[in-house]
């Protein structure tokens, strides 16, 4: 009757991009995994690091330029302020749907037992220290550590 208890599952999600629309899928997938009794952890690297950086987490934008689905010409989407505007619009829509903010999602994830990791190399590149990160991040790890952690896990790259 209950298939979930039969085979323990695990997902490792790599979040490498920092757009609002690029961070949410990783967070929601991890959350859904936990809700389904699947072990989950997220590895934040490169621009994805913004989602766990204290100063950036509340100001993630939507990337419009080069996004064919954005219904906006790339030139217009590339104008200053357009990303912030689109990000604002998306946040408004998410609020209407009662979607948690990125910060709330991070809290929910940690509460539900998911683990968040930051990439060491990306931290060096962006000159960030552990003090710059949100408290939900468990550890700063290397790519090798990531593979150790994801043993037996399905890896999802976003």
């Amino acid at each position: 009757m209950d298939k979930l208890t039969e085979t323990p599952r695990k997902v490792a999600i790599i979040c490498s991009k920092g757009g609002l629309d690029e961070v949410y899928p990783a967070l929601i997938l991890a959350n859904a995994a936990r809700q389904s009794g699947i072990e989950a952890f997220i590895f934040f690297t490169f621009w994805g690091l913004d989602a766990v950086t204290e100063k950036r987490v509340d100001h993630l934008h939507v990337n419009l330029a080069g996004n064919a689905a954005s219904n906006m010409p790339t030139l217009v989407g590339g104008l200053p302020g357009m990303e912030a505007l689109a990000g604002h619009m998306m946040k408004k829509q998410m609020a209407e749907l009662e979607l948690p903010t990125v910060r709330e999602m991070l809290e929910i994830l940690v509460d539900s037992g998911a683990e968040l990791y930051a990439c060491e190399l990306a931290m060096k590149m962006f000159k960030r220290t552990t003090e710059d990160l949100v408290p939900q991040v468990k550890e700063v790890i290397t790519a090798g550590d990531f593979y150790d952690l994801s043993t037996g896990a399905q890896i999802i790259f976003t």
Binding site: D2, L4, T5, N31, Q35, I108, D111, S112, G113
Partner: protein, 323 residues
């Protein structure tokens, strides 16, 4: 007959003699003149023939013949009406010629041709060169003039085309060839239309409620198993939430490996109350909002797949939504 009678006769004879002498004299003079003129005339004729011959050799006569041919063609090719119009236009033509031959205008033409003569000294130019060149006052003036000329030519062309009978534009022609075309918005509708003669099959798949986001749409629950008179769906949730009893909840909790505590029961009651109120099985986020518990608490109470386990124990369908 007297001498007196003879006198008038003699006088008349005298006069006659004088007249005769005059006639003879004139005859002689004429003969002399003729004698002089004949050689002159002969010479003149010879010269004239020589001249005409020279003209012929230069092609004057052939030219004239050809000219006559050209004139013939012109007459054949143009109607008198055309010629009359030409007559009307000749003033304008002359005006144009006069304007072109003004010394100032000719000077411009001479300057322009000078540029052509110096063509070998001109360096090739790219688009940036063009842009740079537009900063020159003379180039700007020339460009303005060119644009003005273009404008006037275009104006004239427009006037001409307006006068010409209106032709079907390309799109209209294409539409005529292709026949009636349905709008873009009807593309999906077209697909539903079945070819004539084939009976329309009854809708095998009921239209899904596409309006709601797929994420939160509760799927119709079908019975997969019936245990002790209670129907369960394939994913282990009770099909009919109203058939639930606390005793049944305890039994399901045992199967799920959960030992029910008052905290569990409170949460189950909250979930059931919310389901009754909203007809939607609450997800974890919803539970945190309606039951006043934290996410952490829920995971502590139901460590494995909390919302699902809770819904199963509470006799509710699979929780809706992604959160």
């Amino acid at each position: 007959m007297t001498t007196n009678d003879l006198t008038p006769i003699l006088e008349r004879l005298d006069r006659m003699n004088a007249g005769l002498a005059y006639v003879v004299e004139r005859q002689r003079a004429q003969e002399e003149l003729l004698g002089e003129l004949v050689p002159i005339g002969r010479e003149a004729l010879t010269t004239a023939i020589g001249r005409l011959d020279a003209l012929d050799q230069k092609g004057y006569f052939r030219f004239a013949t050809e000219l006559a041919g050209v004139a013939q063609q012109v007459i054949e090719g143009f109607s008198p009406d055309d010629v009359r119009q030409l007559g009307d236009a000749i003033v304008k033509i002359l005006g144009a010629v006069r304007a072109l031959t003004q010394p100032e205008v000719l000077q411009i033409a001479v300057d322009a041709t000078q540029a052509l003569e110096d063509a070998d000294q001109v360096k090739p130019m790219g688009i940036f060169g063009m842009v740079r060149a537009t900063r020159n006052d003379d180039v700007q003036k020339g460009m303005a003039l060119m644009v003005e000329v273009l404008r006037r030519i275009g104006h004239g062309v427009n006037a001409l085309t307006e006068r010409a009978p209106k032709q079907l534009d390309k799109k209209a022609k294409l539409a005529e060839l292709l026949g009636p075309r349905s709008g873009k918005k009807r593309l999906g509708v077209e697909r539903l239309q079945l070819p004539a003669g084939r009976p329309a099959t009854p809708a095998a798949t009921p239209a899904p409620a596409a309006a709601a986001p797929a994420c939160s749409t509760p799927k119709p629950v079908t019975t997969a198993a019936v245990i002790d008179g209670i129907a369960y769906s394939a994913d282990g949730h009770m099909v009919d939430a109203s058939a639930w009893t606390p005793r049944l909840g305890e039994a399901i909790a045992q199967l799920q490996g959960v030992a029910l505590t008052p905290a569990h029961v409170a949460l189950i009651d909250a979930a059931r109350a919310d389901f009754v109120a909203n007809k939607v099985s609450p997800n974890i986020r919803r539970l945190t909002q309606v039951a006043g518990v934290t996410t952490k608490d829920i995971y502590l109470l139901f460590p494995k797949a909390p919302a699902r386990t809770l819904a199963k124990i509470a006799g509710l369908p699979k929780p809706a939504g992604c959160l």
